[in-house]
C-alpha cells in the first residue's frame, strides 16, 4: 500500500498485467516516443506520460508506437485481439473516435455477434476525456454515452486511483472489448493504492456517501464535484447518497435502485452534454423501472448543449460544479 496518483495506478496495472500475461501488448501514439529520432527512446512515455518506463521493461515488441493512424492501429488492435492477443490500445483523446469510429463501434463491438459467437475479443481501449484544460471543442469531450450506446462494448469510467488500477486489470483480463475512459484532470489525484495486483468486478457501483434524502449518481470526475456538494449539503442538514457506477456497461442498476427506493429522489451529474448521454440513460431507466419510488422529478446536472469552449471562464461556466449540484438538490428536497 502506498500513495499513488491515478496516472501511476494506471501505469502499475499495465505493468502488472504485462508481467502476468505475455500476450498483453500496448499500441498507440508516442507510448514511448523517440522512435525515429536521435534522442532518448522512452522520450515521452505516452502523451500523458502514463506509459513511461514500460518500454524499458517490455521492449518495442510489446510497446508498439504507431504513426498518427488511429483507424489502422485501432483496427490492428481489434484484429490482434481476435487472433489471441490482449492488446491495450491508447486513443490519445476520446474525441479522436472521429477517425477510428468504425473500428470501435462497428468492428470491435459487433465482431463476436456478427460472426455468431466464434471469437473472443479481449481488447482494451484506453482513452482520455474531459474539459478543464482550455483545449477547446475537439479535445475536451466526454463520449461515454456514445460508447455505451453500442451493444458489444463494455465501458469503464474510473474516478479514483484505486478504482482505475483495479478496473484496468479487470478490463485487460476481460474477453470482451472494453473502453476505459480516463479523465485527464484526475491524473494527479492521489490516494492509497495497494502495490499488488487486484481486480474490481465490472457492474458494481461504489457508494461514495450514504444519506437518506437524495440519491446522486455521478460519473468520472463528476464524482468529486458531487462529493464536494454532498459534504457541503450535510452542513445544511441534507443527506445524500452518492453513487459512482464505475462502469456504464454493465451498469449496476441494483445499487441505484436500492438507493432511489429509499430516497425517492435522483440527481445525475455528468460531464457530457444533456442529449442522449449517461444522464438521460440513467434517468430513463429509473423513470421506467422505479417510477413508484420517485417523489420528485429526476434532475440531470450536465453542461449546456454546446461544444466545449476554450476560454477558461466559459469552460468553467460550461462544467457542472458543486454549487449547481447543491442548488438542484436543495430544490428537490423542498418537493
Amino acid at each position: 500500500m502506498s500513495i499513488k496518483s491515478y496516472r501511476a495506478a494506471i501505469r502499475e496495472a499495465l505493468e502488472q498485467e504485462m508481467l502476468r500475461d505475455p500476450d498483453v501488448i500496448l499500441i498507440g501514439e508516442d507510448l514511448a516516443g523517440g522512435a525515429g529520432g536521435g534522442g532518448e527512446d522512452d522520450a515521452w512515455g505516452g502523451p500523458m506520460a502514463v506509459t513511461k518506463g514500460l518500454l524499458g521493461k517490455f521492449g518495442r515488441q510489446r510497446v508498439l508506437d504507431t504513426p498518427v493512424s488511429e483507424a489502422a492501429f485501432m483496427g490492428a488492435a481489434v484484429g490482434a485481439a481476435a487472433a489471441g492477443l490482449r492488446p491495450v490500445a491508447e486513443l490519445m483523446f476520446c474525441d479522436f473516435i472521429g477517425v477510428c469510429c468504425d473500428q470501435i463501434v462497428n468492428q470491435a463491438a459487433k465482431y463476436r455477434y456478427t460472426f455468431g459467437g466464434q471469437d473472443r475479443l479481449p481488447l482494451t481501449v484506453r482513452t482520455t476525456m474531459g474539459a478543464g484544460q482550455q483545449l477547446g471543442s475537439q479535445h475536451s469531450q466526454v463520449l461515454v454515452g456514445l460508447f455505451t450506446s453500442f451493444a458489444g462494448l463494455k465501458v469503464v469510467v474510473p474516478s479514483t486511483p484505486y478504482d482505475a488500477k483495479g478496473l484496468l486489470a479487470t478490463a485487460i483480463r476481460d474477453d470482451d472489448p472494453v473502453i476505459f475512459c480516463e479523465h485527464r484532470l484526475l491524473y494527479r489525484m492521489r490516494e492509497e493504492v495497494p502495490d499488488g495486483s487486484y481486480t474490481i468486478p465490472f457492474g458494481e457501483a461504489r457508494i461514495v456517501e450514504e444519506g437518506g434524502d437524495v440519491t446522486i449518481v455521478a460519473l468520472s470526475r463528476m464524482v468529486h464535484v458531487a462529493a464536494e456538494a454532498v459534504h457541503a449539503l450535510r452542513a445544511e442538514g441534507i443527506h445524500c447518497t452518492l453513487i459512482d457506477p464505475r462502469t456504464t456497461v454493465p451498469l449496476d442498476t441494483d445499487t441505484i435502485f436500492d438507493s432511489v427506493e429509499a430516497t425517492g429522489r435522483l440527481v445525475i451529474v455528468d460531464e457530457a452534454g444533456p442529449r442522449c448521454g449517461m444522464a438521460s440513460d440513467i434517468a430513463a431507466i429509473v423513470a421506467e423501472e422505479l417510477f413508484s419510488a420517485l417523489r420528485a422529478p429526476i434532475r440531470r446536472v450536465t453542461p449546456p448543449c454546446v461544444p466545449v469552449p476554450a476560454a477558461p471562464n466559459l469552460e468553467k461556466l460550461y462544467l457542472p460544479d458543486a454549487a449547481r449540484v447543491m442548488a438542484v438538490v436543495r430544490e428537490l428536497v423542498q418537493r
Partner: protein, 330 residues
Amino acid sequence: MGGAGKPATEEDAALRWAYRTMQTIRCFEERLHADFAAGKVPSSVHLYAGQEASATGICAHLGEQDYFHITHRAHGPAIARGADLKAIAQEIWLRAGGLCSGKGGSPHLHDARLKLVGANGGVGSGAALACGSALATRHRGDGGVVVCLLGDGAINQGVVAESFNLAAVWSLPVVFAFENNGYAEATGTAYAIAGNDIAARGAAVGMPIARVDGADYFAVHATAGEAIARARAGGGPSLVEMQVPRFFGHYEGDAQKYRAAGEVAELRRSRDCLVAFRERVLGAGLLTAAELAGIDAKIAAEVDEAFSTAAAAAPPAAAALLSDVYAGRI
C-alpha cells in the same frame, strides 16, 4: 489446409485441388445466380464468379497458421479457404447451421477455426484487422502470414492507406491482395482511382508490388506465392494487384447499366479463368477431359446438396437473438 484436403507435395494433386476449388466456386455462384433470379435466396448476395483464380491461387499457399481476410464478395474466398460448403450455403440462407449461425449472412462469412476472417461492413476496414492478425502470428512466432483480400474500391478508403503504412512501419507479414474487377458498385476504376494504379499506392510506402492477370491461375499462384514467401521469411508486407473479371452485377439484382453492351459476354469469352485453366492442363496433358468432367459432376452434386440442405435448414432459435453479444457474462 488450403481447403478441401490438398496434399501440397504432389503437383497433380495440387492442380486437381485448384481445379476443384475454382469449379466449385463457379458452380456455386452460377447456381446462386439462378436461384436468386427465381426468388429462392432470402438475402442479398455479391457473386464472385470470374474471380476464382484469385482466391484459389492464394489459398494454395496458406497453411493452418495463416490468416485469410476476405471481403463482402465472400463465397468464393470462403470456399477456397476450405470452409464447409453446406455451412456457407446455410449462412447465405440465414440458417442456424450457417457459418455464423445466421447472424452475419452472405457478406460476413467467417470461420475462426480456419483463420478465415470475414468482412466487416466497411469497405477496406479489413486491411487494419489484417495488420492485427499479422501482429498476433508474429508475436506467437508460428511462422504465419496474413493475406488480406481487398477490392479496387477499397484502395480509396483511408484506412487502407493507413494500413499500408502501418504494416510497413511494423514490417508485418501481410500481403495486401487487390482484386481489381474494374468496379466499385456502379463506378469504374478509371474514374474513381486517380492515376488508375492500385499498386502504385503500395509502392509509395516502399512495399514490393506486383501486378498480375487474375484470370490466370498459374500467374496468380506464382505471384502470390512469392509475396507470401517473402512475408513468411520476415521480408515484410507487400501488395499484389490482380486484374479480374466480374461476371455478374455488384450484387444480385443489379441491372449493370454502367457496363458497355457485350462487356460481360466478352469477358466470359476471353478472360474466364476456368477456360484458361482447362486449356492449359489439357494441352499440357496434366489432367484429362474425363477427369475434369468427373470432377464437374461431383461438384454439381455437392453444390446441389449444399443448396437443398440450406433451403430446408432451420432458422436460428429465438434465443440466438440475445446470445453472442459478449463472451463473458454481463
